[in-house]
Amino acid sequence: MSLLSTIGRKLAEDAKNILLTPVEAARDVRYTVRGVRKGEIPPADPLKTAGATAGALLLVLLLLFPVYWILQAALSGTGASLYSASGLSLLPEEPTLQPFVWVIGDLIVPAYNVTVDIPLTGQSLVFSTPEVTFLDASAHGVDRPSQFKHFLWNSVTVAIPTVIIAMCLIVPAAYALSRREFIFRRKILFLYVLMTQVGGGLGIALLIGLYAIYVQFGLNDSKLALAVYYAATAVPFNTWLLKTYMDGIPVSYEEAAVVDGAPPWRIVTEVIIPLSTAGLATVLIFTFLTGWTEFVVAQTLLGTENYTLPVGLYALIDEYSIPWARFSAFALTFATPIMLVYLFAQRYIEGGLSFSGMEG
């Protein structure tokens, strides 16, 4: 619970900061205007500031333009471009959410018949659940919706085993590396740190070997085998991350528990695990995203039927029949939740690593 409330507090702080920015800016401007009138601030000074700020703003907008462009492409119904008969236009001409309907497709819970046998009477009761329609794609003029849900399901069935396997491997190792002294400890740590730096590129280079082994064992096109591979690649970085996090938990807590007579396993379940929830959450998110966003290995190993979301996205760009608006909507539906989660996790480690358990 304390984790959730901390997150809530941070979000509230962010929202307040954003809302207060215009107020601050207005106050700033008023102060400057008064200063210039009284002659305390030379008039050229605020002009320079305004110019610099405008320039910086322009730079920020330019850098983020691709994101804006894809958003407006997704919202423009015709899949049209910025460039139209009336010249460059920055707003979509006929905004519509139809491309997103195409991505998501039907959201219908079909009717089920539930049969319950009544014992001893030989009779049975039949319940029919009603059909629940959240979104009917054909009502919005979409005939053949995308395979998004299919890919999504594949991604889920890859990512969840990845998380489970990875957590089983990472948590005990991180604890031991943080708290115990044993043979080869520093060598293993060094290997893990080294692997966080070079792991990514090595992955693609050894993909040939991996592919050959998987085919020989008949494991290619198996989502579970892919999940184990992802979990293995996630081990070095995340173990090291969680270990660093656990290092920040004061040893005095454990000592207190030992004095109170707690056996080793209770120290872990009642001191270490509760105090490292933030670190655990971060590692959980990172391992989940490993499986969720990886493309190359998934594309090489999986068959069409088992494509995950990134591979599905890549498969779309080669179909020239796909209207541009639909591609953009697909890409955004895939990427936006990840971006939000990732940025949040990213911020949270920065805060999390300096978090001290001493306050309570």
Binding site: D28, K48, A212
Partner: protein
């Protein structure tokens, strides 16, 4: 007697282990899985590079045991390496890769130092919000960013870059099907992909530059440029160098951009070395050759990182305790 203490006693009986070394058991599962899926393929790849493996012979053997004998592939010694190293196609790929490392690192450094200086400048208001906006793309999955940039360079109607060209009266360019424009497109995309990371590092380096140094230099009559060269650069050199080395390694291993853009085309002209190895093996079914190329690439990147880590003493920060 609990399992743990029984285990402890067992451990004590092994000559070179101490009583507390049973903690190693917590680490072993992770280490084992990691080794099985990362280190074993490397060894396998080494073996593969000495054979004439191709789908026909490699997957011919019966049962799982055939993994160890590489199916029915024959041992050919160093033939693959000799072939690769005497193949002009390989040297083209190798050259393009180093060229790419050079151009993209310079571009990435230029852009991110520029952006970082702007968003830390005293003149600019609202710096904090700008900074958090600018690093937003960091959270986007690489495959998203790259497919979007591919569409921007697309020759189809919606291709943004060509739209802008037309708007300003220039001839549209067939970005992805001409060699150097495609290479340029790779660089631009790489720049956009990497800048948030570089900007974060550069900004924190810039914030650590003591204000007094700048003031002292201003008093001595140094202009903006002189201050940049004599105050800013020396103070941010180390962290930026660190970022540059990491990002150079990323450029060297770049796979997704060429692969998604045009499979390293046109006509295999822009295949960076990792793409080259991958395509030789999986698109042209020459596993042995592909393995040799990949290993050469790994050797180079390993040597590159090793030299940098040794010379730049980069490991100091991470080797902890």
């Amino acid at each position: 007697m609990s399992t743990v203490s029984r285990l402890t006693q067992r451990v004590e009986q092994v000559p070179f282990l101490e009583r507390e070394d049973y903690s190693l058991l917590f680490v072993l599962p992770g280490l084992f899985v990691f080794a099985a899926f990362m280190l074993f393929p490397v060894l396998y790849l080494v073996g593969l590079s000495f054979t004439d493996a191709a789908p026909a012979n490699l997957f011919a053997g019966e049962g799982s045991f055939a993994v160890l004998t590489f199916g029915e592939a024959a041992f050919v010694g160093l033939t693959n390496y000799v072939d690769v190293l005497s193949d002009p196609e390989f040297w083209n790929s190798f050259g393009v890769t180093w060229l790419y490392v050079g151009t993209s690192v310079v571009l990435k450094l230029g852009l991110s130092i520029g952006v970082a200086m702007v968003v830390t400048s005293d003149r600019v208001r609202g710096r904090r919000i700008m900074r958090s906006l600018i690093i937003l793309p960091m959270g986007l999955p690489a495959i998203f960013t790259i497919t979007v940039w591919r569409s921007m360079f697309s020759s189809a109607d919606f291709g943004l870059i060509n739209q802008l060209f037309r708007q300003f009266g220039a001839e549209p360019v067939a970005w992805l099907s001409t060699r150097w424009p495609a290479f340029f497109a790779y660089n631009v995309t790489e720049m956009w992909l990497a800048y948030p990371f570089m900007v974060i590092i550069t900004v924190s380096a810039l914030q650590d530059v003591p204000e007094e140094l700048h003031e002292a230099a201003t008093v001595d009559g140094a202009g903006f440029f002189a201050r940049f060269v004599h105050v800013t650069v020396p103070s941010i050199k180390r962290p930026v160098l660190f970022a540059a080395i990491l990002t150079a390694a990323a450029s060297f291993q770049q796979f997704l951009i060429p692969f998604v853009f045009n499979q390293g085309g046109p006509a295999r002209a822009n295949e960076l070395v990792v793409v080259y190895g991958y395509r030789e093996a999986l698109s042209f079914s020459q596993y042995g050759r592909g393995a040799a190329i990949s290993l050469i690439a790994v050797l180079f990147i390993g040597a590159f990182m090793w030299i940098n880590v040794k010379r730049g003493k980069l490991a100091d920060g991470v080797s902890d305790e």
